[in-house]
């Protein structure tokens, strides 16, 4: 509610100066919210952030360069529900000032270069269609080419229904570069924010080498509404939250926003991209396992051709290291995967969902 000062000639505070915290019902002054990294000062609820705020929060001042800003959605199916898809797109563009639900680019965190992709949930629920999928895939490919860590901050309801199976296949398109990052020794840090569900969680977002989540974010496969509606079972307290995933072993750390930048910066130092020797043998702080390195050499070259990067002509990055998506590890190890923690639970009959 706007506050009116009856004796003052000043304009009353605009109606949008205050936001009610959905968690503690506190009225928070918007400017205070922005200064406080959009965290409720009374209960610590993390409000959603725009892409611009994410960039300011995480990256070194002035270091971000957006890439592929011109990618734009089309309407491949001619989709009209209650509103035509093109009108929904337009409305989201006007509302957010963005072309699409995700932005990617290159930046630095405490001087370390990263390729970063960021979602905005306000743009059609952060849903992933052809453009978002393309941007995330290009973000990973740039990380591979430049041999810098990849970082994606997700906030998405999942695949975009309005582009049908073209959206569904973005799950595979965004996941396909990840085995190449594995082989090349490039780390990928996935940051899950409120909310990350459906197809985005069921693809790259779950597959970070390290998965971080903001506190009390909604994170799950089938939205709680769908699950409770179709299964008809009682859902436990805190179902599909960051903390739930942490407890069940699918998230490494739940990190408050105030510590996010510091945590990511430490991770980048602790988990640097594997160095690549210029030629003839690996020179790493911790050498590779001898048996495997011969194997890796035998596979050399396969990856760079696969993704259409000509290793001989790719520019080197600022540090003068050779680019190259040279596989370090044998395929056998790549597809060996560590198992998630399992715990028994009653799996009653259930109906299929999204």
């Amino acid at each position: 509610m706007p506050i009116k000062f009856p004796f003052s000639r000043r304009r009353a505070a605009p109606a949008d100066a205050w936001t009610k915290c959905p968690s503690c019902d506190h009225q928070v002054f918007n400017r205070q919210l922005d200064r406080n990294l959009r965290i409720c000062p009374s209960c610590g609820h993390h409000f959603r952030m725009s892409i611009g705020e994410r960039i300011d929060l995480l990256l070194d001042d002035g270091s971000f360069e957006e890439r592929d800003a011109g990618l734009e959605s089309v309407d491949p199916l001619g989709f009209t529900d209650q509103k035509p898809y093109v009108h929904r797109l337009e409305a989201s563009q006007v509302k957010t000032g963005l072309r699409e639900a995700a932005v990617w680019g290159l930046g630095r965190i405490d001087g370390r270069r990263v390729a970063i992709g960021i979602f905005d949930f306000r743009f059609m629920g952060g849903s992933m269609g052809s453009v978002v999928g393309e941007k995330i895939a290009r973000c990973f490919e740039a990380a591979l080419e430049e041999r810098i860590p990849a970082l994606v901050i997700s906030a998405s309801g999942g695949a975009r229904m309005q582009e049908g199976t073209l959206s569904l296949l973005q799950l595979a398109k965004t996941t396909a570069p990840l085995p190449h990052l594995d082989e090349a020794g490039i780390p990928f840090i996935s940051i899950l924010t409120d909310p990350t569900t459906g197809g985005v969680l069921a693809s790259f977002a779950s597959l970070g080498d390290v998965v971080l989540a903001e506190p009390r974010a909604l994170i799950g496969f089938a939205g709680a509404r769908v699950a409770s509606g179709t299964v008809g079972e009682e859902l436990p307290e805190g179902f599909q939250t960051s903390e739930f995933l942490l407890e069940h072993g699918f998230v490494d750390l739940v990190v408050p926003r105030t510590e996010l930048r510091a945590t990511v910066s430490r991770l980048l130092q602790l988990l640097p991209a594997a160095p690549v020797a210029s030629d003839g043998g690996e020179e790493r702080a911790w050498g590779p396992i001898g048996v495997l390195s011969g194997f890796a050499q035998r596979l050399g070259g396969a990856v760079s051709e696969t993704i259409g990067i000509d290793a001989s002509t790719t520019p080197t990055d600022g540090n003068g290291t050779a680019p190259a998506s040279r596989p370090r590890r044998p395929a056998g190890e790549r597809i060996a995967d560590s198992g998630p923690s399992e715990r028994p639970a009653d799996s009653g009959p259930s109906e299929p969902g999204a």
């Binding site: 959605s73 089309v74 509302k95 629920g125 049908g164 990840l178 496969f221 299964v231």
Partner: protein, 331 residues
Amino acid sequence: MTSITPPTADAAPPIDDAQRERAWQRVQAARQLQRPRTLELIALIFDDFMELHGDRRFADDPAIVGGPALLEGRPVMVIGHQKGSDTETNIARNFGSPHPEGFRKAERLMRLADKLGLPLVTFLDTAGAAPGTAAEERGQAESIASSIRLMTALQVPIAVVIVGEGGSGGALAIGVGDAVLALENSVYSVISPEGCAAILWRSAEAAPTAAAAMRMTAPDQLELGIVDAIIDEPGEGAHVDRAGTARAIKGALLDVLGRLSQLDTETLLANRYARLRAIGRYREAEVPERRHGAPPSLRRRIGRLLHLPGVPRRRRWSEIWPSGTEENEGD
């Protein structure tokens, strides 16, 4: 503010009755209880098949079946969703909707195929992955993601056949391949038509309209480039002539696997990557690069520091892309 070109395409016309009916008929045909299920098809197509069980971590999921088989005497690995054919068997199979252990069993069998160099054949027939507490706490999303990742890099040829319903992530989890074939009356979609209708039309009644809008029939999927070829069903359809359907699938598999096994692994993987990378439709508008160019001059830097008039402050990204004032939930 960002300058944004509004989409130039006109809004598409709404779905008409004929389209609705055609799409809904296909959905119902794909869901037919009499439609041959994966295990029946396997028995008709392959010379020998031994079902293997369990994900080695938690349980055996009856909604996914798989194991080694012989196709015209040559060994392959087969994995598929398994629906039931009546209420009782459907409950036992959870209507073909897998839990994480199902996808992890599939992964385990794919690794075995990879290890032994066996081509992989998968049959898609599910309304979607199982939702619910059990699925979530065992990592449904992660199990699907992990299976997709494995398939993108598997070093053996993969032929995917959509035999009934290709429902969302639960289908794609075993549906990434070098060749994707679809039976004539199968469907493939990003979400069930009922789910789509509930979200976008706010009414389950609109499911036939949603089915038409999503263009989920096999011919539509062929046109979109998601499916590479359609396998015609004999006579009135797969539910009437199972043997004929199996013969048609077998012929298509022999053809596809014959061609794929000519390729060396590098080419196979490069083609698979290129195929996935090419999926999606978008346009690329020319935009001026938005970046902080050359470092600011000394005058400018001092001006900024002292807030001198006439020296613009560098805009922060949060001013370019701010948060809205309302906590809009979007779609």
